[in-house]
């Protein structure tokens, strides 16, 4: 048993922290307020090698393990959850399926610009009628000569309006049940692809979320990912490792909430002494620190299992549900520690509390995580 990170992992964490302090902290409040996409920061992340961390060097990645990548997501999310999520949805959900299921040709063609951050990726699975229940999707793909023709509407696609490359899912054979769904790589300039409604959100406002509409959208047959019928398997595989990223994001948000709370509690004087001298506040901080450590160890374990080539589906779901729920709980407490000031725009904890909520919803709701865990426990 060894709780020590490698020197490289520690240095990556330290450098990402410095990156975030230099480039992200100064704009985090502004992009939250305006909902502006921080394209300049994402480009810089690409330049610094952070947009394809866990993928092989031969495809433009940095070849790190998954744990190192998750540590970087935590550090970035601590400064801005939206930017952290942009990196993680791109890395886990768009690059992941191409790396894990793509042919050699597909990897050579699509991964290098994505890994270098010159292209941004998105993952379009959810549909208006198909959220937790993926099988309720209605998007179809029909082979016509050398092309697939896609029809359907995807919703809540993160990076949707700014992505260059989409991984999407459609039925190629509805009668085949879960074996009838297929995954596709769709470039943004494919004819018949349109960005639909652009959503205004409660939190992670600088992350761009939209509908993606396929109307007789034609893509080369060569863009089929992993063979017809493997869509559901690919989606579930994406979620397994994607959830580690969301768990790390949740830990980053909670860590920021705790650090803000500690600093504020030591400074805010009521009844003649700092509120940090009140036992009630001390216990809140103690609980925050304990839960954050638990959540961090859970995501680190899931990442470690993945890096060892061991099963990690249940552990990733545990990390995600525990991390998300503790993040929500403690970001609310952080606002409470700040009293009225915590409710006012400009206090970081106000943003953190809004950002926290999404971690309980996307890449599988907390309920969906419990289904995964229970299925594993009751098998």
């Amino acid at each position: 048993m060894d709780f020590k990170l490698t020197e490289e992992q520690e240095l990556v964490k330290q450098n990402m922290r410095e990156f975030a302090q230099k480039y992200v902290d100064p704009i985090a409040a502004e992009i939250d307020e305006s909902g502006r996409f921080p394209a300049e920061v994402v480009a810089k992340l690409g330049e610094m090698g952070y947009m394809g961390m866990p993928y092989p060097v031969q495809y433009g990645g940095a070849g790190t393990d998954y744990l190192t990548y998750a540590l970087a997501v935590e550090e970035l999310s601590k400064s801005c959850a939206a930017t952290g999520f942009t990196m993680s949805v791109h890395t886990s959900l768009a690059l992941g399926p191409i790396n894990n299921f793509g042919s050699e040709e597909q990897k050579k063609k699509f991964l290098p610009p994505l890994c270098q951050g010159k292209h941004l990726g998105a993952f379009a699975l959810t549909e208006p009628g198909a959220g937790t229940d993926v099988s309720a999707a209605t998007t179809t793909a029909v082979l016509d000569g050398d092309e697939y023709v896609l029809n359907g509407t995807k919703t809540f696609t993160s990076n949707g309006p700014v992505a260059d490359t989409f991984v999407t899912f459609a039925w190629t054979d509805k009668s085949a049940g879960s074996k009838g769904m297929s995954a596709f790589i769709v470039p943004k300039d494919a004819s018949g692809l349109r960005v639909g409604e652009h959503f205004m959100k409660m939190g992670i406002r600088a992350s761009q979320t939209s509908e993606i509409i396929f109307k007789d959208c034609r893509i080369p047959k060569a863009n089929l990912l992993g063979g017809e019928g493997s869509g559901m398997k690919i989606a579930m595989n994406c979620f397994d490792h994607g959830r580690i990223g969301i768990a790390a994001q949740a830990v980053g948000i909670a860590q920021a909430a705790m650090e803000e709370s500690i600093a504020y509690a030591k400074e805010r004087v009521q009844f003649g002494k700092p509120i940090s001298k009140q036992q009630a506040v001390q216990w809140w901080i103690a609980d925050m620190a304990t839960d954050i450590d638990c959540a961090r160890f859970l995501y680190m374990r899931a990442a470690w299992l993945k890096d060892q080539g061991l099963p990690f589906t249940k552990e990733a779901s545990m990390a995600k549900v525990f991390g998300a729920e503790m993040c929500m709980k403690h970001s609310i407490k952080a606002v409470q520690i700040h009293g009225g000031y915590g409710y006012i725009k400009g206090q970081k904890v106000e943003r953190l509390m809004r950002d926290a909520k999404i971690t309980e919803i996307y890449e599988g709701t907390s309920e969906a995580q419990r289904m995964v865990i229970a299925n594993n426990m009751l098998r």
Binding site: E7, E8, V12, M48, G49, G63
Partner: protein, 254 residues
Amino acid sequence: MPDILCCYKWVADEAYIRSGSGGDLDLSMADYKISDYDKNAIEEAVLLAEQHGGTAAVITVGLPDDTKGIKDALSRGPEKAYFINDPAFVDLEPAQTASLLAAAIASPIPYDIIICGEGSSDLYAQQVGPRLAEKLGIPCLCYVQKVELNGSELIAHRKSDEGLEVVKVSLPVLLTVVPDINNPRLPGLRDTLAAGKKPVVEFTAEDLPSIDTAALATTATKAATIKRNSRLFDADAAGIEELVQELKNSGAIA
């Protein structure tokens, strides 16, 4: 094509130093980092090597466990590290550190320019640079904020209380640099991952002549304490008069 050698110190990050119950410094939570000004020294060495060809290497004296610092330093651009380490090298005095550096450099390590930070961000004694130059018998220019290199001639702009001093020297030379000289780069991910693959030459106490015993005895290192004598003055003419008088009495104003 100059060979540039840069000295750095691996120090406790002051952000994590707590003050212990007895007013002493509690380093148990401390993370370590490259001393702030030494980051400027490394950056300048790498910039000069990039502009003029030649090589940039780092050298440090530390404990055998301080290997993360080597990777950190190498991720910032130098191509090689010299690591003088021994479990006995705890709280070395500047004179001892300078002796070890000088002995290793004389072993020999090639150099035309040696760059140090103006002082370390822990003790800030500002002695290692000048002492090392003295031991090597080369000129030393401190507090340099700009360097121009033309072949074997170097022009240094030195910051001083009186203003700016522009000095011309022939190589070899030792410089200590101030933070204004450059903006240290943030290593990219690939630089960090590649750092562990760069060559590291080690020296232990056995490889070098023994150093003088410490000349200074440190009796204690205490956290700075600030005593406030909070006194309230009324916000009227009399109160202001009283405040001014009080400040004069305490010597805060003349």
